[in-house]
């Protein structure tokens, strides 16, 4: 048993390295904190919201921020903080679920095309190229016009747009990794394709997928807000940040806080996600680990 007594040095994995780098990135960590804060609020809204969502106070009307209503009230005397909190539930939910849809389709599509290669890859990527050329935002508008707007439609439609880039990124990564010598080494060692995929490919393509997922969420939130701003997304009585901003725009001359606070909530969320995504990319970028 003597040989087990030697002092084995523990290595630092790339993941650990990346995590340490991310922790040193202040902007990314601030982004992460803001994001966690917003998610917590969104989850707890029904419990902690100061007023009810529908509660009107027509006599009060629109008032600027005060001790009673921290972010003011709208023309119908509804508490804006409460409305923004409920709006965050919609915006974040659309962001996460539609990204999940995009992730699922995109990763499967890209991984299959990249791994199989050859003619299958060519055909699958041609389809992606062709779909890329379609005016998707316009199609989504078309869909909402024809079938009326619903959450489910938004999830599917936005997910259907965003998966294309995901598929391209995953395929590119798979192709790069597949051409690496360590994958060839795994082939020559007699590993089955399944073992190669799970042990060698997936751990190495995970990084870019995580980064791109983080960066997809803000663009999905943006797309939803854009549609809601035009009045084609979330329909009343529900509201998202986009529809709150749209409402705020109409009365911004008299009641600017109705525009500024929902805009701030949206921008802060986009900020935090983008900074986190950038931070993750810097941390996971293999080129960064060389210096």
């Amino acid at each position: 048993m003597t040989e087990f007594k030697i002092n084995i040095e523990k290595g630092t994995s790339l993941t650990h390295d990346a995590f340490m780098r991310l922790r040193k990135n202040n902007m990314a960590m601030i982004g992460l904190c803001i994001l966690i804060f917003f998610i917590a609020i969104a989850l707890l809204t029904p419990l902690i919201a100061p007023y009810t969502y529908e509660g009107q106070n027509l006599e009060l009307g629109a008032t600027p921020p005060s001790a009673l209503h921290w972010l003011g009230t709208d023309v119908l005397g509804r508490d804006q903080l409460t409305r923004i909190m409920y709006g965050s539930r919609v915006s974040l939910m659309v962001g996460f679920i539609a990204t999940a849809v995009a992730l699922l389709i995109g990763v499967l599509w890209g991984a299959i095309a990249g791994f199989l290669g050859g003619r299958v890859d060519a055909i699958m990527m041609r389809i992606v190229d062709a779909l890329y050329a379609l005016p998707f935002t316009i199609f989504i508008i078309l869909l909402t016009v024809i079938f009326g707007s619903s959450m489910l439609l938004l999830f599917l439609a936005i997910g259907a747009v965003e998966w294309l880039t995901m598929a391209r990124i995953v395929r590119g990564q798979v192709l790069t990794i597949k051409g690496q010598e360590f994958v060839e080494a795994a082939i020559t060692m007699g590993l089955s394709p399944w073992q190669i995929i799970t042990r060698h490919l997936i751990p190495n393509v995970l990084g870019p997928i995580i980064v791109y997922t983080t960066l997809t969420i803000p663009s999905v939130i943006l797309l939803e807000s854009f549609l809601s701003f035009l009045g084609l997304g979330i329909q009343p009585p529900q509201s998202s940040w986009g529809s709150l901003i749209s409402g705020g725009t109409e009365t911004m001359e008299e009641y600017p806080w109705l525009l500024i606070f929902p805009g701030l909530a949206l921008s802060l969320t986009l900020f935090s996600l983008n900074f986190l995504g950038d931070g993750l990319r810097d941390a996971l970028d293999p080129r960064a680990s060389k210096d």
């Binding site: 062709a130 050329a133 316009i138 024809i146 943006l222 911004m252 805009g263 983008n274």
Partner: protein, 311 residues
């Protein structure tokens, strides 16, 4: 080169056909659409529609008929305004939209490239952080937040610039162009910074420096040609986003452009207008993607040689 362009045009045709088919059949499926008989539409409209779309024929014959008109550049009459054709509306709205998109693109290119190049020259210094923070701001302030804020500050509070309109009062084109272009300026700044950094670390830049060239010559003659490539491949597909952005900007600034017409048509359920505009937008997107592709080939001598068959 000619063959390459021809090939790309031929490749684009199925995409346009697909867009047309999807749009056509989706509208057909719409409850209360122009092709369903349930709606109480004035008899003269029904008559015109019937004349035009042969509603009594099977659906695929209607589609072929529509395609035939399309090939002649005819989008048919408006469903909502029987006195107008879709062509009239597009012709009325497109110039403003085109001009807006053009100014926004120019704004984005000038600001974005300048910021990106400046940032790339001294990475991780103040000269890098300031423009890149501004770029992050541009990405996180969507046009429908930035637009109203600009309008509020410069139009209403400071009263420096007009708040609405297009080409009526001097300076009324400034705010909409900036609103639409800001996000693209931000993206271009980030992309060009990245590609400049990559190119500046190439061996041939070291060669240029070893030759004793001035920094300006190294940047503009040697580095920029390679660094501009990713910006152009971004700009091609970006036209789709730019058009969508124009919906918002034209709504905010009340510009009588195609984007605003389109949003109005969506609310009014002016199906033929929606259909026509969608196809028209798709056509524009395809054309600009094609232009970007051709430009990319022209810029790279190696690809250019491969495309033209090579010797």
């Amino acid at each position: 080169m000619f063959l390459f362009i021809l090939k790309r045009i031929l490749q684009s045709a199925p995409v346009l056909l697909l867009v047309t088919a999807v749009t056509f059949f989706m509208i057909h499926a719409a409850p209360g659409g122009p092709f369903s008989q349930e709606r109480a539409v004035p008899p003269e409209v029904i008559k015109r529609l019937n004349e035009r779309y042969h509603l009594d024929e099977p659906i695929w014959q209607q589609f072929v008929g529509y395609l035939g008109h399309l090939l002649h550049g005819d989008f048919g009459p408006s469903f909502k305004y029987p006195t107008h054709t879709v062509n009239d509306l597009i012709a009325a709205g497109f110039p403003a939209t085109f001009e807006l998109a053009l100014y926004a693109t120019l704004f984005a290119l000038v600001i974005g490239l300048t910021a990106g190049i400046i940032a790339s020259l001294k990475p991780n210094s103040l000269q890098d952080y300031v423009p890149m923070s501004a770029a992050m701001l541009g990405i996180c302030l969507p046009s429908f937040v930035l637009g109203p804020i600009l309008l509020l500050v410069f139009g209403i509070w400071l009263q420096w610039l007009p708040v609405a309109g297009w080409g009526q009062i001097a300076g009324d084109k400034i705010l909409p162009s900036i609103t639409l272009g800001a996000a693209y300026a931000a993206y271009i700044a980030r992309i060009s910074r990245g590609s400049m950094l990559e190119i500046l670390s190439q061996d041939y830049i070291r060669t240029a420096r070893a030759k004793g060239l001035s920094n300006a010559r190294i940047i503009f003659v040697h580095a920029l040609r390679g660094a501009i490539t990713p910006v152009i491949s971004f700009l091609g597909p970006a036209i789709a986003g730019l058009l969508a952005g124009s919906f918002v900007v034209e709504t905010i600034f009340q510009i009588p452009g195609l984007g605003r017409f389109y949003v109005q048509a969506a609310f009014n359920r002016d199906y033929t207008m929606i259909m026509g505009c969608t196809i028209f937008f798709a056509f524009l997107i395809v054309v600009f993607n094609l232009l970007a592709d051709v430009l990319l080939v022209l810029l790279n001598p190696k690809v250019r040689q491969e495309v033209s068959g090579g010797h």
